[in-house]
Homo-oligomer: 172 residues x 3
């Protein structure tokens, strides 16, 4: 049975680096599963930098929506790093036209699948709910979804971590 | 003498659920003291969902402003959950027309009263100061007030907790 | 050799007070090194309040940009409190016209210098990356820089702390 490790933190808190180091402690080939839907130059630059930083043990797979099916079919890896939950939610928000119930159903589907995987999985997410309440409705919906998703995924994880200033704090 | 438990966290971090579970571990009838001033449909929906989730052991009281007087007169409950400090501050901000000194005096009055209550009290608040500095003056004033209030209330609490992704971290 | 203590937290989380108390536990005269570039009345008020709160053991020095050189030349103090990293970054952002590489080079220069100082140094920073992704490019650049700087400075620190609601959590 796989170990499920949930890792959250603010922007540039060092959460992805922490996840990567943890995954690299597992033997075997590693998969970086990106929720990317690369839409602009700023995002593309960020993705390229991350890929270069990971090195040769890593393969990369990009999947904007069907994360759960992709994980179910995964085999032969020593560990999988999913980066990141909030980008996936943002893709779902667009795809399901802001239908909160369908998005949370997709999250629950992922949460139900995780304990059945037989590879260690590192899930990276973001803290987006510790600023001022956003003015716009869509941003409020997104931060509510992100908070709910983080709770649901951390609940089924074997370990949960909050990363700040590059330092991991054990949540669970 | 009552136990004072201060609980903070981001939006949808699981802080209210954590507070509720802690309160339900106390024997006797429970009071949910809501700082609500329900002004729009979005807020009303959120309040209804929370009420339905709490179940029959709970009574609900709504008080937008005079939280301290309400708590002083409280009796016969096994525990009280006040949800939430930041909504109360937002009501005070409107009521006292942004007069920071009067608002912080109301917070100090609450802080001075808490140690004299004879019922366990669970205070839920929010982290609102870990995003980018807001553009507008009122939002900056609000996040300064929320930060100051959180410090003052946590200082008199017997326990303080930070909740992230549904997981409580002991602050004190 | 000096002790390096990195302290971060949200707005009004009590991080500066915590840093001040820690510094005051060191014997000898104390230096408050402010990254201030006082530009408006709101900021000036905040600075005055902080100065009055510190009392007579403290001297104050204001330096918007050359923090590293200033720290190198420092002598005769029992401890130095640098407040704060994010204001310094914001000064650098303006001074270097948003040139990310030059700003991060300045951060790396500071990080390389810290272990060679012979006075205990308390570095205060801010968490700015745990809200919704900001709409404007400059705010996104700033929060990326702040996150990267926090990681780089915490990495060379002997201790790192996250302060929430006035309560310090040990990160490292």
């Amino acid at each position: 049975m796989g170990r499920i490790v949930f890792i959250t933190g603010g922007a540039r808190s060092g959460k992805s680096s922490f996840a990567q180091k943890q995954a690299e402690a597992c033997p075997g080939p590693l998969l970086y599963l990106a929720a990317a839907r690369i839409e602009d130059a700023e995002m593309a630059d960020r993705v390229r930098l991350h890929q270069a930083a990971r090195g040769e043990r890593w393969q990369t797979l990009e999947e904007p929506l069907d994360i759960t099916a992709t994980l179910r079919e995964m085999s032969g890896y020593g560990a999988v790093l999913f980066d990141c939950v909030t980008l996936w939610l943002s893709n779902l928000l667009f795809h399901h036209r802001e239908d909160q119930a369908r998005i949370l159903a997709a999250v629950d589907d992922l949460a139900a699948t995780l304990p059945r995987l037989d590879v260690p999985l590192f899930l990276v997410s973001n803290e987006v709910g510790s600023g001022i309440v956003p003015d716009n409705r869509l941003a409020r919906l997104f931060r509510d979804l992100a908070g709910s998703a983080n709770q649901r995924l951390a609940a089924v994880a074997d370990e949960a971590w909050l990363v700040a200033a590059g330092c991991p704090l054990r949540l669970k």
